[in-house]
């Protein structure tokens, strides 16, 4: 059963003569538990595709299905719920809230979901142990290295046990050692937690961590 289904997805930017067709009617599916890497040159539309799948942006036409649900038909509140429960985001620049500690950043989706923090204490401990930052739980993001910050952002994406993690160039801002650690972590959570991962990457090496590669060129799958 496919967890993500893309149907004739089109995204244009600009208007009139300045209109740029970034995605030209894409069709593909991702099965539950897959680890897919989205590759392509700059401007090929891979990040745009990721944001459309995550509901951060709206398509010009076509449909994105998550668990057979057309996400474009969802209301703002339902979309927020989907982002909280089904999808976890990991960004290139981590996007951590700088004045919250590591554990507070990780627990942010729990708070946003209106759940009790204490109910997620065990889950938090487990995730912190998975990402190897149990001893840094009280630290602020600026007290961590880039790789550690990215691991916190992955932990935040995992806390509510989402079905999917969408990662936008997760190691793009990291040195090779930290990059490898992060990719190992992705592999681990994909295997152990069964979370479907869709990552956008430039790196062939990190793309190989996944079990499928989708290549984009000028808005089309090649």
């Amino acid at each position: 059963m496919s967890i993500i289904k893309i149907d004739k997805l089109v995204k244009n930017f600009g208007k009139g003569e300045n209109e740029v067709k970034v995605l030209k009617g894409l069709n593909f599916e991702i099965e539950k538990g897959e680890f897919v890497s989205l590759m392509g040159a700059s401007g090929s539309g891979k990040s745009t595709l990721l944001y459309l799948i995550g509901g951060l942006d709206k398509p010009t036409s076509g449909t994105v299905y998550i668990n057979d649900k057309d996400i474009n038909t969802l209301k703002e509140k339902e979309m927020a719920k989907l982002r909280r429960k089904d999808i976890g985001f990991v960004f290139q620049f981590y996007n951590l809230v700088q004045n919250l500690t590591v554990e507070e950043n990780i627990m942010l989706p729990v708070v946003m979901d209106g759940k009790k923090e204490k109910d997620y204490k065990d889950r938090l401990d487990k995730i912190l142990s998975i990402i190897g930052l149990s001893d840094k739980r009280k630290n602020l993001p600026n007290e961590l290295s880039g790789g550690q910050q990215q691991r916190v952002s992955i932990a935040r994406a995992m806390i509510l046990s989402p079905n999917i993690i969408l990662a936008d160039e997760p190691i793009g801002n990291l040195d090779s050692k930290s990059g490898k650690e992060v990719m190992d972590l992705f592999k681990k959570i994909n295997k152990e937690e069964g979370i479907t991962i869709l990552q956008v990457t430039h790196s062939e090496e990190s793309a190989k961590y996944g079990n499928r590669i989708i290549r984009l060129k000028d808005g089309e799958i090649i």
């Binding site: 927020a80 982002r83 004045n99 627990m107 708070v111 935040r156």
Partner: protein, 823 residues
């Protein structure tokens, strides 16, 4: 929730300066709000308490010049208790004027007109109060009283507390005796009084009782000891002034906070994006941001309510000037209600200011928020500009068209005008920017071209400029208003510059003071003739017995010596007995025109006269309220009041006014008169408004500080938000010196344009403020003094230019690579 609260509190902690600025702005607004709410009631209670402490249970006072008996009065009540008093004015062995107040001492204690320590006195025994004891009088001392060529020995039986009427500190020494003592000295029968106090036991009928006595008895002065209506009327004016200050302070604070909030939100956009990306809905995010702002309101409201309550007691003491009476303590105390109202006000104000921008920010797509794709270019919204233009024009047109405009309408029009200015400013800046770009292009100055474009299209510059225009124009108006208040006495000082001594409270007609001319050193005696009463109604056309908003004072002059009243279109000396001149502002306020026939009804005098309005005068040198009318001298002296209000004495050259003051006082041998040098008189009058001026200056001081810190903060954050733009310019086409020049030119030009516009705006806001003050009966004669505004703006301009040091320093430290690597 705990995490969200932590996040909010850490935000406040991390941006202490901004948090403090918002907190302080709200605190000021809340304090002024609390004062505005409570001052009227506090003043009313304070004045009432003060008067009650003097008059005790006495509710009505009936007095005449000649002694009268209770039976002489026609009254509509038989259930009352009364206390008669008889007084006499004589001199002591040293020819010093003294007064004896006679009464039934035990009854006076029951009336609470004297303290409990006063006991029955035998014939020729007197009491002194503590004040007289301090002056050197002693128990057992015998006072020699000279009264109508006879001498009497009065023995001081004891010292009584400064309570009731014994708490009044008159200029002349006053002793308290039994009524028998006074009547025997005056040689009149028992049961004769010159004043009777009534305790009616039923407050609701006091007005009826007073009116009945007035209507059925001639030549009596009848008054309530505590006239709540008059007190409330006077205190509501003060409250209205506070509301005006509140309105202006709030408008300015609105722009300070709104500008800060925009910057705070702009800086926090990626964080908002992060929250949204982890599942916060728009509503939830809006609530988080509103909660953060509500915290400012809660704390500022709490402290504002506390400060406002304590300031209220200071403000109300400033407004009450009771010569010779100990003013009652403030009745306002900090209550849970006041705190809740303060918190509610500050929280609502803060939320109203920020909520629109919060919702607008959250409407942006998450992708734009998370990657902060906002640019620093100002995008003008046509709808907003059009609305602004409509508000701007319509507020001015309506202000001109509406006759007899009321306070509320002026307030609303002032807000519309300010909002109109704020919304049209971006358009004005863009037009100016285009003109500047054209000029710089012609002279080929590339830095100038970039700068001129920034002036019209940079969000931060537009935001700062808007703040400068609104804050400075409102502050200019407040400064002009306070200057006009401080200048109230300048005109009077100018007119009386040749007068050396002023004698207040004379009791005789002008002719009886001829002897003053014989005093060595006295060159000339002038008389200021006027009549003030609060029971004048008028009939004009269909307006039957209409009450003036503020009763007029009548003025007349025998010959034109000093220009207390400025003639405008008719000579005062040409006035006939049935002709009248109105102060121009007072006439405008009461809708009185030249040629109108007005019948005035004088309640106390029981007379009515019909006058033809012959023209107008300017009475600003004479009376700040300008509620003056001028009548012929003969009419005033013969029909209204034969006793001058003041005597003005011009001395021969070489005579010292301070020394002559005592000489004249001793020569007059008249109880109750008050001789002062002109300087002393004016200083005393100025002293009465010094407190009010101090409050106004305090508000100005706080407002200037707030506005300046707000603008400075805008400049600094503006630079921080433009770091990337500056880094790109530096990496591609400009060196740091060129960037410095660009920033300097931006600051010089944008602030110059802002202050130029502020000058025009302040001209109009001053007209609004002037009319508002006129509306509440204060004809302050606020003139648009360009030099004052210019000096103020010059100081502000220099301070604004000094803020350049901050971006210069930051530019020097800036690492270009760090800034552009995230682009």
């Amino acid at each position: 929730m705990k995490i969200i609260l932590k996040h909010i509190l850490r935000n406040l902690k991390e941006h202490k300066m901004r948090a403090f600025l918002i907190f302080f702005s709200l605190l000021v607004s809340t304090s002024v709000f609390v004062i505005s709410l409570t001052i009227s009631d506090d003043l009313t209670i304070k004045v009432e308490d003060t008067l009650r402490s003097v008059y005790g249970n006495a509710e009505v006072q009936v007095a005449t010049v000649d002694p009268f008996k209770l039976d002489d009065l026609k009254m509509n009540k038989d259930k009352y208790s009364y206390l008669g008093m008889s007084s006499l004015d004589g001199v002591d062995a040293k020819e010093k004027p003294i007064s004896i107040l006679g009464m039934d001492i035990e009854k006076a204690v029951d009336f609470k007109l004297l303290g409990n320590d006063a006991k029955k006195l035998a014939l020729n025994e007197i009491y002194i109060n503590k004040n007289l004891e301090d002056k050197g009088y002693k128990k057992g001392q015998v006072i020699k009283l000279k009264y109508e060529d006879k001498e009497y020995n009065l023995t001081i039986k004891g010292v009584i507390e400064n309570k009731g009427i014994a708490s009044i500190r008159p200029d002349d020494d006053t002793f308290f005796a039994s009524i028998e003592t006074v009547n025997s000295i005056k040689n009149i029968e028992d049961g004769n009084y010159d004043t009777i106090y009534f305790d009616l036991k039923n407050n609701n009928k006091i007005g009826e009782f007073v009116d009945y006595i007035k209507d059925h008895n001639d030549n009596y002065m009848v008054a309530k000891t505590v006239d709540m209506e008059s007190i409330k009327e006077a205190t509501s004016m003060i409250s209205t002034i506070m509301y005006l200050i509140l309105l202006m302070a709030t408008i300015m604070i609105y722009f300070v906070i709104s500008s800060l909030n925009k910057i705070i939100l702009a800086e926090r956009i990626p964080v908002i994006g992060t929250f949204r990306s982890v599942g916060a809905s728009r509503t939830k995010m809006n609530l988080i941001l509103v909660l953060e702002n509500a915290l400012y309101g809660i704390f500022a409201g709490l402290f504002g309510a506390i400060i406002g309550t304590y300031l209220d007691s200071y403000c109300s003491s400033v407004f009450i000037t009771a010569d010779g009476i100990d003013v009652a303590k403030s009745s306002v105390s900090l209550s849970v209600g006041t705190i809740l109202i303060g918190i509610l006000f500050a929280t609502l104000l803060q939320i109203i200011i920020v909520v629109k921008e919060i919702i607008r920010t959250n409407k942006k797509p998450i992708k734009d928020l998370i990657f902060n794709t906002q640019n620093s270019r100002y995008k003008m919204r046509k709808k907003r500009t059009v609305i602004g233009f409509i508000l701007l024009i319509s507020s001015i047109i309506l202000f001109v068209l509406i006759k007899n405009i009321d306070m509320l309408t002026i307030g609303v029009l002032l807000i519309c005008f300010i909002v109109g200015v704020a919304n049209t400013l971006p358009l004005i800046f863009q037009l100016i920017s285009k003109c500047l770009a054209y000029i710089f292009k012609k002279i080929g100055w590339s830095t100038g071209i970039i700068t001129s474009k920034n002036i019209g299209y940079n969000k931060m510059i537009i935001s700062s400029s808007r703040l400068v225009v609104i804050a400075i124009s409102l502050l200019s108006s407040i400064i002009l208003m306070s200057k006009a208040t401080a200048d109230c006495f300048t005109g009077f000082r100018e007119v009386t510059k040749n007068v050396d001594l002023m004698i207040s409270n004379p009791h005789k007609s002008s002719e009886e003071y001829d002897y003053l001319n014989d005093i060595d050193g006295v060159k000339e005696v002038q008389f200021l003739n006027s009549y003030f009463a609060d029971d004048i109604t008028y009939t004009k056309g269909k307006n039957k017995n209409k009450k003036f908003n503020l009763p007029p004072g009548f003025y007349a002059e025998k010959e034109r010596k000093n220009v207390y009243i400025e003639e405008i279109d008719y000579k005062i000396s040409d006035l006939k007995d049935d002709e009248i001149l109105f102060d121009e502002k007072y006439a405008f306020k009461n809708n009185i025109k030249k040629g109108d026939k007005i019948t005035m009804h004088f309640g106390t005098l029981k007379k009515s006269y019909t006058y033809t309005v012959k023209g107008f005068v300017n009475a600003s040198n004479f009376n700040v309220s300008r509620n003056m009318v001028v009548v012929s001298y003969n009419h005033l002296i013969n029909d209204l009041n034969g006793i001058p209000m003041q005597l003005h004495i011009v001395l021969d050259k070489g005579y010292d006014p301070d020394e002559m003051k005592d000489v004249v006082h001793d020569a007059m041998k008249e109880v109750g008169i008050y001789v002062q040098t002109t300087e002393e008189y004016i200083s005393e009058q100025e002293g009465q408004v010094a407190g009010i001026i101090a409050i106004v200056y305090l508000v100005i001081g706080i407002s200037v500080t707030l506005a300046f810190i707000g603008i400075l903060n805008n400049q600094v954050i503006g630079f921080i938000n433009r770091r990337k733009e500056i880094a790109i310019l530096n990496s591609t086409c400009m060196n740091k010196t060129q960037i410095k020049k660009m920033l300097a030119l931006e600051t010089i030009l944008s602030n110059f344009i802002s202050l130029f516009i502020a000058t025009i705006v302040s001209f109009i806001t001053t007209i609004f403020v002037n009319n508002f003050m006129m509306n509440i009966g204060l004809y302050l004669n606020i003139k648009y003094d360009f030099m004052t505004v210019f000096k103020f703006e010059l100081i502000v301009y220099i301070l604004l230019l000094l803020t350049l040091f901050v971006p210069f320093r930051k530019l020097k430290k800036m690492n270009i690579v760090d800034e552009i690597k995230y682009e």
